[in-house]
Amino acid sequence: MTNLQVNLHHVTRVEGHGNIVIDVKGGRLESCRFDVVETPRFFEAMLRGRPYQDASHITSRICGICAVGHATTSLRATENALGIVPSEQTVQLRKLNFFGEILDSHVLHVMMLVAPDLLGVGSIIPLARTAPAVVLRALRMKKLAGDLCRTLCGRHTHPLSLMVGGFAQFPQLDELTQLRVRLEAVREDVNDTVELLSGLTFPEFERDTEYLALYRPDEYTFIDGQLRSSDGGVWPASEYRQLTNEYVVPHSSAKHTRHLRESYMVGALARFNLNHSQLSPWAKEAAATLGLKPKCTNPYLNTVAQLVEIVHVVQASIETLDELLQRGIQHEAPVAPARLSGEGVGVCEVPRGVLFHRYVIDEGRITAADCVIPTGQNLANIEADMRALVPAILDRPREDVVLQLEMLVRAYDPCISCSTHLVDVKFLE
């Protein structure tokens, strides 16, 4: 096929509105874009002038899926700005809450959004007819993840009890014990899912890129750490802007980023590539069953890396619960700020990749804020993948080209509404 025009408005089974635009003329790729047409959100401007205690509640509304991720990142930014060191119990409870959200988000993506593609059906409804056990399993796992979050932070999404310096309310020991029983029971569902996906075929496409993820020497980290690149190098989180280098492109209301190459990738595959040695033995076993090996350069396998992380967080949740149950829950007061003015960066690995919040606080009020969201960081990489992929599959039928492109975008699990926070206004004179 020497001429091909794809103008796919509104990619389905992703969060938000994005369009794929491809134009091939005479065998030459003239344009290849992933347009982000979602309305800008202006969260950073909303934070200015607000008391620091409000920031986590406001920014958790950036996303209905990774609200705990935004809240936790926000709290860490504020705590770093105001010299607050949370207690060990707070760290453990936040971690457990975070695992719940990773589980919730990954189950939604792997089993409800991507599985229909792999099983050759259009959506979860026909999937429910042909493979009801898979869909019921996904619903059960999501329910458990939601209940885990609710027990820790007061509700499934948009946490109530997470606050600067600690928790406003604590889970009951019997609730934690029940969660532990259910997590043990879900192991079978997790193993069945690994078995299911190990038998499915993913598109073959390799393109090496730079992978960025948080790193901590002591664990497969989701909260706090240093930034690590697959091209070499470690940076403190406070210097994130050296890595993100945000810039504006005309076709997207979300900014793009680049570091050592034209683009980089964040998310489960980046974390797996950089931190695989820290996964739990069960998760490593799952990776082996699924045939996922570092360094993996097939972006479609981000979904497989998410499944490996599902295994990891189920195991890590059980272990964290054991520690909490053994130690008991102290109804401790939140740690008070050491100062009321300062600047701080919070950094977390939320489901879709590394997330940054940076606040400047003056006498308890936020005067400046910056949030760099994973999907925004992946946009340039998605386009670089499309530029490499399209010429390689041009000889295929048009519908297949479109499906491969849609599946590529979907593999990144983009959360488009989260990433848009910029509007480009031009004044004509």
């Binding site: 389905t12 089974r13 409800m112 959004l113 959506s123 409804i125 009801p132 869909v135 619903l139 999501k142």
Partner: protein
Amino acid sequence: MRTLVLALGNPLRGDDGVARAVLEGLGQLDLGPAVSLVDGGTAGLHTVLSIQGWPRVIIIDAADFGAEPGTFRRLDIVAQDVESLQVLSDSLHSAGLLEALALAAALGEFPPQVTLLGVQPRSLDYTTELSDEVRAAIPAVVSAVIHAVAE
């Protein structure tokens, strides 16, 4: 018959809280051990798990059918009603009751009896208060639920 009475809606959105108010009214009565009253919150795909396994489900929700505020209607739904609907065409991130019922039907988990009691809202504004018309309708909706339970 074992019956689930499921209230759906967001009480922070004005008349969308009508189902919860009806549920509170029902909570003051003795409906017997076979009836469970559940606040299902905002509907989503998880609603499938709430209705799964019940021989009879009575759903209360605000529903815009263009009538006078406070009017309510009863609709008995069978799996065939929702099976052929083209739902979930784009995002799963904003699924509601219809998607949940369609998914339940596709899974073969659609309860044998599903009754929807829909109350026409006046306003879905950001308030915890019900409108006067919808508040006045609560006793009648409570009676309709009791009637449906007794059938």
